[in-house]
Homo-oligomer: 321 residues x 6
């Protein structure tokens, strides 16, 4: 018998009430989740953070603020919860005192999820968490990626040779063959730089690097037109670093760069994902200690709902195919 995957409605139970799960969805443990299409997962870990810590607290605050989410998208006029079975699968294991072990625990979790045929929508955590997720979703073949961020995260190492930080995940993912650089676009890059070895690596590997300035010039529609053309129908991962958004709109993050996207622009960008073959997505770098108000988490939760809507259509299409 089919389970009920509908979120609690704020018309019946006020939004401040109840145990906080992502979007007020039922919490289902991974081992009981085989009828789940899209699993929303928290990754409470920031072991790769090189400056201001805190994204380990992200999933809890995003859960709290995601109670603001309602059922239907006001532009699309449909509910992703009616399109697919969506559930909160809880948090991955975490180890705040060891990077290697932390990565291993997260990777194991995602390989199980992906193995069950569940499409993951994740809430970080710092950006290093995208690496073990990509190891799972790109295990069989490298995936393409549409990546919204102020930074390339393509550096080779920090602090004299440390290779696993939130500034290096996508270089590792390319090296490991789980991410296809030629199907990868990075949107919103900006801010001063120690050097440009990250960009040089990306350019050499074929990554499309798009500065904030270029994105503004192209306009949000133009940006996504190019992104869609790049990835085509291939399996595509979406990684959304909250710091692509301007710190006025999303202060709770570790490496803020002024001059970013507004949330309105970010919504326009994510709506440009419609029709793509999305195989997973994340929203990372929400750092509650730097925004106790929760508005950064609200922005993150809203972006997760935008992602969920386009993901739910992709899942439905794949089911139909």
């Amino acid at each position: 018998m089919a389970r009920d995957f509908q979120p609690v409605s704020g018309m019946e139970t006020p939004r401040f009430a109840g145990i906080a799960t992502f979007m007020r969805l039922p919490h289902i443990r991974p081992e009981e989740a085989d009828d789940v299409d899209i699993g929303i997962i928290g990754v409470p870990w920031d072991g790769g953070t090189t400056n201001r810590p805190g994204p380990r607290h992200g999933p809890r605050q995003i859960r709290d603020m995601s109670a603001m989410t309602r059922h239907k998208h006001h532009v699309y006029r449909f509910s992703p919860f009616e399109t697919c079975n969506v559930a909160d699968l809880g948090d991955t294991p975490s180890n705040p005192v060891d990077v290697d072990d932390g990565l291993r625990r997260i990777e194991t979790f995602y390989k199980d999820i992906v193995g069950r045929g569940i499409v993951p929508l994740s809430a970080g955590g710092d950006h290093l968490v995208s690496l073990p997720i990509l190891r799972a979703v790109g295990e069989k073949a490298p995936v393409g990626m549409i990546h919204f961020d102020a930074h390339t995260d393509l550096y080779d190492g920090y602090f004299e040779g440390f290779k696993f930080t939130h500034g290096t995940p996508f270089r590792r993912a390319i090296e490991e063959g789980v991410l296809d650089p030629k199907k990868t676009i990075q949107i919103g890059l900006r801010g001063s730089a120690y050097d440009f070895t990250d960009r040089e690596y990306g350019e050499k590997m074929g990554v499309r690097l798009m500065d904030m300035e270029e994105a503004v010039e192209l306009g949000m529609d133009g940006v996504m037109q190019e992104a869609r053309a790049l990835v085509g129908d291939d399996p595509t991962y979406v990684s959304f670093d909250i710091d692509c958004i301007d710190p006025a709109f999303a202060p709770g993050t570790g490496t803020p760069e002024v001059g970013g996207f507004t949330t309105r622009e970010a919504q326009a960008l994510l709506r440009g994902l419609r029709g793509l073959n999305i195989v997973g997505a994340d929203v990372v770098e929400v750092s509650p200690p730097f925004d106790p108000s929760g508005y950064t988490a609200l922005a993150g939760a809203t972006m997760m709902f935008e992602l969920l809507c386009v993901m739910s259509e992709a899942v439905a299409r794949r089911k139909d195919a």
Copy 2:
């Protein structure tokens, strides 16, 4: 002998000094206000709030931050305080523990004010306060309304049949015949929805519903051109829910929706009201507990000054007529 209705000047008395009244105006009790043209009124009540409370504290914080307001509008180059007699009429009575009694107290207050020929500019309070105000200004004939908001506030009820909440005032106002739906436009709608019964009701009654996305596409001038055409010269109320503004600019509100107007856009919208036959206006949903910095109240106070300028011209025109 005419009383002096000029605000205290910050060139003489620093803006941090003195008892805080709206825009540093004289405080006059309603019963002594017969020479007042426009009365600024606080409505310290949030009895209709379904999620995060706090607008009951709005009038006090808006008064505090409105000390930043000076005399002349820098675009219009005139002072509304020279055009009309404007005064702070204090706060309405309030009852935080009973919705029916709260509504009754506010309605009584406004019927007295309107009966004295005073045009009310109100600071809420949650959005339910617009209902008793409309009962007063629309008592003789239903008024039109230009409504800036992320939400329609046209729902029928919450929590299994409770009809008076901040999500329902305009449905009630239409039902009660104090608001003319065909002369009503709602600007800036956005955010996910439990269902669309609010919009369906509005559309059925003839309300013009304009999503944020459409507003951005039309541009602020285009939006207001349509609004002005809709209401024409008819008596029009203006209701400004602070959550029409993006939470980056106005975080202190109970139902924030990312992707909203900037304050610069909001100013452009309100300047588009020039020339209309405005019979009252409000700024609602400023919730100080969610913004102790006071910047939301500053945005609210600035919008009130924009409203006051266009209202003062309308009052002067009506006097001349």
Copy 3:
């Protein structure tokens, strides 16, 4: 087969990880809770608040901060989770826009819980929530009460006759015969007063009113010696208004009064409850909007753990008897 009621350990899963339940306990729905001895319950409602609102958000923030709680009490050297089956039973229903309906929903919930033989430990909510709880625990016979508070909450009404506010619950409870005034002591009273009709009523009914000043003079041990003597072995409810604690230690509350207990004193007071026949307890008036840091909720969660320890012994004793 017995279920596992152990909290998640921070030695295995870091305390920032996982969906937030009270003290990291399993969440069990009331209808499946018949093997639960003590149920921790959130009451997200502040419909009786006469000044600064917010306790409706209390349960969620207390859940979050209660992740700091570990298993064993460092003075008692035992774990209440080994003494009894303890679970998070979720939140009661709520109605933020109607006091009567809100009270009814809460009362119904508690009558069901108490009917199942579960001892409730509740997180408010404003102090009016104690009334429907007492209606349940005192249904068969009036209970005694040890009440920690800056205020008596014994007023008759507010705003010209409104009888149900957070300043009136215990007068109502005495009138309704669910609270035994002669077995009631109020500890920590202080702050200026509109009048003393509350105290006069209490004194007339036989309530023991103890001002802060007297409590300090007696010392915490002396206070509790008297409290224990008063209630004896009779069924006793404990109500802990967070504002009995000084606002330096617990700023997130609606009616703060300087000059209160330190948390150290509060712990000493609650340890004085050991050995009593406790039939229920609450911690109320934690108002997150007035303390986004969460420290007030941490104080509340810590007091709930103190209460849980002495309650678990009482439950065990009653089982043994």
Copy 4:
């Protein structure tokens, strides 16, 4: 016909409502205040501040938080508003860009007030405001002073010879003959020091300097016994620097020193003033920018209510005499 000097009651008008005056008292302009016994006055000026500024904003925030004050003192069981005519006399003039002119404006204001026979209870402002107040109350004869503070404020000058700062007012007051050093006691001194020339001056002039450590050792009763003995029945001014209180209880101040009094101790100290011949009092150095929560202002307002009670008795005694 006698005017009504009663504060607005929170039992009728909720405390969040209405224009904020001190303790919700009527606002009366000095020139119409001849029937006022005790005038509460704001001094929005911090021209003498050598480190962190902000007390210029003190009066407004204290007015806001003083809405928490009710009518009767819960220990004394009387209302100062029934003992005397008390009113909010508004703020003094201010000049934030010139120390000499600022001092002159304040002095002029107070000489007028004192000349009308009104006893001033003032809300600063930084501690330099006590100098022009003392010039008024000590004009005819030097007054004694009970001074609660972490600092002596007896330095000679700062920054190579600048004589008017918030670290120098009482040296100036002694030099000018408006303060009697032999009838002056300073309570709660603590914190590291650049040098001890302030203390040496004080000791030379006969001021009683009491360190925090000595105060704790004596106990609050012992401290006030000595203070009372020192000033006897002579006209005595009370100056309460909020930084005598520990920053945990009153963080909003410019020169915090850890290890201070609790608010409970502060209340005990102020109750020790009962029976003295108080001719004026102030609470200074509340700096809202360093405490947007308002709790420092609440502590300040509560101390003002304590002072008002003992002042009202002194005024009544002098009237009777």
Copy 5:
């Protein structure tokens, strides 16, 4: 032997580590700075502030947040630290209790710096600090100025004749002949006004006054095209009041005006300075007490880096010439 003027790299030493200097540059005392081309200087003074104080704390918070700055500009693709010798020259002397002495101390400091051939990039302090800086850079001949601000700062006086406030520096600078009004443009003016005597003076003297509304209409490129045409190759000072930016992006300032530039627009404006003959620049009015989060200081630091880049090219060009 040449000293090393490179900033500490965050790839080696994490950005949270180390004593905070501007942009992690070496701190060099002015008297040892003869090989410095551009000196970054803090001016910890706000003696001219007429409303909300705090910019005296600006330099320290900007130093802290400027640790986020890296070496190379991501659009220009060069490092100003390789173009010129840049150092942190520490703070000017300050006197918070006397305007005249404060101005004198700052002027003396800058005359020494400019006399050594060092180009100053300053972090205020309130806007009055631009006056003593202009006295130094404009000593030999009046300079032109590109001025970003919500306010003209061209008033004559405040509080009945006080001539030195943060609302008057540029009128004084024109009167003193250190600023050439015909080569001066003010960009971003907005907000209500007591009167327009400031604008009338500016217009009379030939200053180009550009309202926010006009700037938006022209677009950022259009604005700077006009600014560049106005100043040509003449020695030009750049003054950047952080309040030209909207308070959503830069709340920590004393006179916020809603409706301002975004940081993205501000960056576009500053990039329009490229090629000009810049002889000094400042970023003023960052007020940490009104933004403990530090994001306003981060915006300020980012603008300083933009300014540094265009200044370093100007210095290099002058050296080559």
Copy 6:
């Protein structure tokens, strides 16, 4: 020629001015520090944190707030800066993404410092930083320790066998033979516990464990009498975890436990160290992201000044010996 080691005086340069060093002391690089007696060192590292991160930011905020420190101790009446040469030696190297490497870098730094005969006074960082410091100061022979903390930090491991966390440093130090457990006392222990294996280990090794409750009962003098007796004249390290203080006084820490010491009690405790043979000290676990106000850092800086005073006497005695 002797260098000047005097802090900048706030009587000359206001405390908000200048680059922030510890206590406004000169910054001297370790390699040039051979005439330094006591080196104040920042350890910007929190690699061992198991819950809420942030102490990596501690040194910078403590430097900022330590500008409040003046020269002389008001009880001792001497200046430690006249007793010894004291300097800010900057921060240790740090590696936020690798615990082993982080520990190694800190240990190397301290072995160099101690090798130069400099006595270290350190500002953490999380409590794991005490381990590499003890490896340096206890290298030749194990030292005794007076340890103020809510927690024993004597656990064996976390998260299935990770041995280096901020909950384990002193177990490692005992195992490594750099800390003498029989000369170790832990004061202020409290809070619930997962288990008591930490205490069992401590007791077995001979550590004196003193709960908060026992400390309160003994009184601060009694506590320190016992501590002094325990360590005698032997070389003793002092470790002060800011969480020994109650979170009302020091909220900015990762593992707060209510019911702690007041700062006044903490000062009394540290004054009880007078006369001991102190060979190093630290203040750890100040976490700025959880207290942007800086008051926790102020408490930490004040405790560092208390420690410095007693350390300077110990250094002078050893020199004399």
